[in-house]
């Protein structure tokens, strides 16, 4: 429950956002760490863990602070080379992240996280102790780096009087119910042995219950280390990790510190906070905006776009009807200007709604790693173009399809190392996920160098599954055969694996992408690999559409599914198997009448000598759709049909045209699938 914590809901929200960011930093770096042992990675990881520990302690989430604290111990060992990075270590660290995420959710939802806290702490302890061969660990803060002038003065005076200077490092047991009390007792005990120049956390923080599981104090006094340990021994739930003597040099200002290892430590602690400050300063240049505000801005701009179109039409009418006078010219100029401003406004607001795909891509490396280990495969997963920006609503929707494609790549496409070596390929496979912007589209590519898709296997499988008859299968080109993997109820996975056999097939992937007015194409070579190419519009709210007319009713067809339009003489319409077809560049395309697809009861105007045909891309296969007339191409703002009508297969919404009338936006592929599923099967 959020009210367990003494923070406002806003603060908790900030905490949650920050926590997620930090968890992702750790996750990314764990993956990299497994591959390369760059020391900078550990610095980043340490910094993230440290910040998370601090903020979760501030929030009062003990469990979270405790787990991060124990993780920090491991990072420290890794950094000092006392522990090696093994996949066992990385596994444990990943398990920690899962626990931390569960705690994060606990804060967000108020429902207790069901995690094995003790289990994970034990695993960490085993890692920690496994390499700790009894040698006491030196305390880690160099005094000089973080002392104020007064404090330094106090310490130096003590040294001059012949007293000794100690850095005392105390750990409070993770399960202590009252860590602040233990910290307080410890400081009191030290106060009896000498003067506490400074402590981390400060005495003030301790008094106000702001403590972690770690207490360090700089003590001036004549005592020997044994005495200090003895003085602290009485305090329950604590243990002394180290008592290390400091010299005058360590009191010096940071740049003069002569103990590089320890000074670096202290400087780092400083760096964490000053970097935080810098981030905060930079953060002032941006504001958090509720997504709903952006959505309503987008809607308002949508209204403007409609009015702009209308205004242009009115100007056109005026110019046509009257002699062009000054007033009409003025109106024309004003209208053109409003048009430009509206266009720019639309563009800016669209930008404001965009996020880098990085936010989405981030979760995949971990998933691919876990899946490949499970499947006993070796592979490199490469991300490219993470900075490419996409509308946040598109990002939300595209995650599942991408995840499915990646799962397939790991589970089915990439061969086992032995098989790859036999085929003369490197044992490690490669899976690439790439984003790029091409004009008004975002292109997402999932590419692997696996076994590819064998058209012959697909052909046989399709016949076995009854998707195709043996005869019609023979007539399909290889590309058309490969495209069958998108057909409903088609799955080549012979056995149901833990990874991909979840009942969601490629048909769902295509459907989800088409719902976003996007397309998916596949390019595959047996033995060499497969590439899926997803094209998406930049935004969902406004699309370019072809306006067509049926029985005095205007309909909008998203241009993403239209390949071209044709005027076909009636004489060129043939009938095959009692179905109408047309010939286009030597290919036979089924011809469907939009009137029939819409279920409208209209007498066909057969008086005309030709039909207007819109060629629709039905996922690699083309179909002709006969309409009564073509109105033109236009940007339309998508509006929902509302919950009263609900989701109607084949209709993706409505839009308001320049003349104020409503036009229904058609999703032609779904329209065909839902209402005349057989129409295109055998053609």
């Amino acid at each position: 429950m959020a009210d367990r914590f003494e923070l406002s809901p806003e603060d908790i929200k900030v905490f949650l956002d920050e926590a997620e960011e930090l968890l992702q930093v750790m996750e990314e770096n764990f993956l990299r760490l497994e591959k390369s042992r760059e020391p900078e990675l550990l610095q980043d990881i340490f910094r993230a863990a440290h910040t998370l520990k601090g903020s979760s302690a501030t929030l009062g989430h003990r469990n979270m602070a405790e787990v991060t604290h124990s993780m920090e111990n491991i990072f420290d060992k890794l950094r000092k080379g006392k522990t090696q990075v093994t996949s066992g270590v990385v596994d444990t660290l990943f398990a920690c992240l899962d626990v931390l995420r569960a705690y994060k959710d606990e804060i967000a939802t108020g429902e207790d996280a069901r995690v094995d806290r003790d289990g994970i702490l034990n695993r960490l302890r085993v890692l920690d102790e496994g390499t700790n061969t009894g040698a006491s660990v030196a305390p880690m803060v160099a005094a000089g780096a973080v002392l104020t002038w007064d404090e330094r003065q106090e310490a130096s005076e003590g040294l001059e009087k012949g007293e000794r200077l100690w850095m005392v490092h105390i750990a409070i047991e993770p399960n202590s119910p009252m860590p602040a009390v233990r910290a307080f007792q410890s400081l009191m005990a030290l106060g009896e042995l000498g003067t506490v120049v400074r402590s981390w956390p400060s005495q003030e923080d301790v008094e106000q219950d702001r403590v972690g599981l770690d207490l360090r104090a700089l003590l001036v006094g004549g005592s020997r280390p044994e005495e200090i340990r003895k003085g602290l021994a009485e305090i329950q739930e604590t243990s002394v990790i180290g008592v290390v003597e400091q010299n005058a040099a360590s009191l010096a200002a940071p740049q003069e510190a002569d103990s590089p290892d320890e000074a670096a430590e202290g400087a780092k602690a400083e760096a964490i906070s000053s970097e935080g400050n810098r981030d905060r300063l930079r953060g002032n240049r941006t504001v958090r905006v509720d997504v709903e505000i952006l959505d309503s801005l987008m809607n308002l701009v949508g209204e403007l776009v409609i009015d702009r179109t209308r205004l242009t039409q009115i100007v056109g009418t005026l110019e046509g009807r009257y002699q062009v006078g000054d007033v009409a010219q003025d109106l024309g100029r004003a209208s053109a200007h409003i048009g430009r401003v509206t266009g720019e406004l639309q563009e800016r607001i669209m930008r404001a709604r965009m996020l880098p795909v990085e936010n989405l891509f981030k979760k995949f490396p971990r998933m691919v790693r876990d899946l490949s280990i499970k499947a006993g495969k070796e592979m490199d997963f490469i991300l490219r173009g993470e900075e490419t920006e996409l509308d946040r609503s598109v990002i939300e929707e595209i995650g599942d399809p991408l995840m499915h494609l990646l799962r397939n790549a790991v589970d089915h496409a990439i061969e086992s190392p032995e098989e790859r070596v036999r085929a003369g390929k490197p044992a490690r496979g490669t899976v690439i996920l790439e984003a790029s912007q091409q004009e008004n589209q975002i292109v997402l590519v999932v590419r692997d160098d696996g076994r590819g898709i064998d058209p012959e296997k697909i052909r046989n499988h399709a016949i076995r599954k009854g998707v195709l008859t043996a005869e019609s299968a023979k007539r399909l080109s290889e590309a058309e055969v490969v495209d069958l993997i998108f057909a409903a109820g088609f799955s080549t996975a012979e056995k149901i694996s833990d990874i991909s056999g979840r009942g969601v097939g490629m048909d769902v992937v295509r459907k989800n992408i088409e719902k976003l007015n996007g397309t998916i194409e596949i390019d595959t070579r047996v033995g060499q690999g497969t590439e899926f190419r997803i094209k998406l519009p930049l935004t969902l709210a406004i699309i370019r559409a072809l306006l067509v007319e049926i029985d005095r009713e205007v309909f909008a067809i998203p241009l993403s599914s239209v390949t071209e339009t044709h005027r076909i003489p009636l004489a060129e319409i043939k009938t095959v198997n009692r179905r109408e077809v047309i010939m286009l560049r030597g290919k036979v395309l089924p011809l469907l009448r939009l009137v029939d697809l819409l279920g409208f009861n209209v007498e066909e105007k057969e008086a005309q000598e030709y039909v207007l045909v819109v060629i629709i891309n039905l996922g690699g296969k083309e179909v002709g759709i006969a309409v009564h007339s073509l109105v033109g191409e236009q940007e339309v703002v998508i509006k929902s049909l509302g919950t009263f009508l609900g989701e109607i297969p084949g209709l993706s919404g409505a839009t308001i045209l320049g003349d104020g009338n409503v036009a229904i936006i058609l999703d032609v592929p779904s329209l065909i699938k839902a209402w005349v599923p057989d129409a295109v099967k055998t053609a």
Partner: protein, 155 residues
């Protein structure tokens, strides 16, 4: 009946009256957003027959139903008095085509009696009851039911 009882607690309700096939109907005024004169309605494919289509109501796309068809009354024709009443229940706005809109009137809860479908010839499921106002019979509509599911054809 639940909806009506809620409003009945206020003892008195104000209704908008309209005519369908010669009978007077009443709807709580709080649910009526506006009354429009007939306008071009865009047909929507693959919906229930009583859905006439959608209209542009100040930038919003609002579905319009033929209330006669919804209540299974005999079909009517569009005349000079025909109106589209935009009603809104829990954020759901729907236009209803009615023969004409009459006056508003007040009614106290104890004037309401259960509806007898035999007399009225309307599916009693959509009614809250009937009441006598100035010697006239007013049929009270249960909008929540009328606007409930069933607008689309089962696929």
């Amino acid at each position: 009946m639940e909806r009506f009882e809620q409003t009945a607690e206020a003892r008195e309700i104000q209704l908008v009256g309209f005519v369908l096939a010669g009978e007077l109907y009443g709807v709580d005024i709080n649910w009526v957003r506006e009354i429009l004169t007939p306008q071009r309605i865009t047909r929507v494919p693959h919906v229930a027959p009583f859905v006439e289509g959608v209209i542009n109501d100040r930038g919003r796309v609002v579905p319009v139903i033929d209330l006669r068809k919804r209540l299974k009354l005999r079909a009517g024709e569009i005349s000079r008095t025909t109106r589209i009443a935009i009603v809104e229940v829990e954020g759901l706005a729907v236009g209803m085509i009615v023969d004409s809109v009459s006056e508003t009137f007040r009614l106290s809860a104890d004037q309401v009696e259960p509806a007898s479908p035999v007399i009225i010839g309307v599916d009693a499921d959509y009614l809250l009851g009937v009441a006598r106002v100035d010697e006239r019979l007013v049929i009270l509509l249960d909008l929540a039911r009328i606007l409930a599911k069933g607008a689309r054809i089962a696929v």
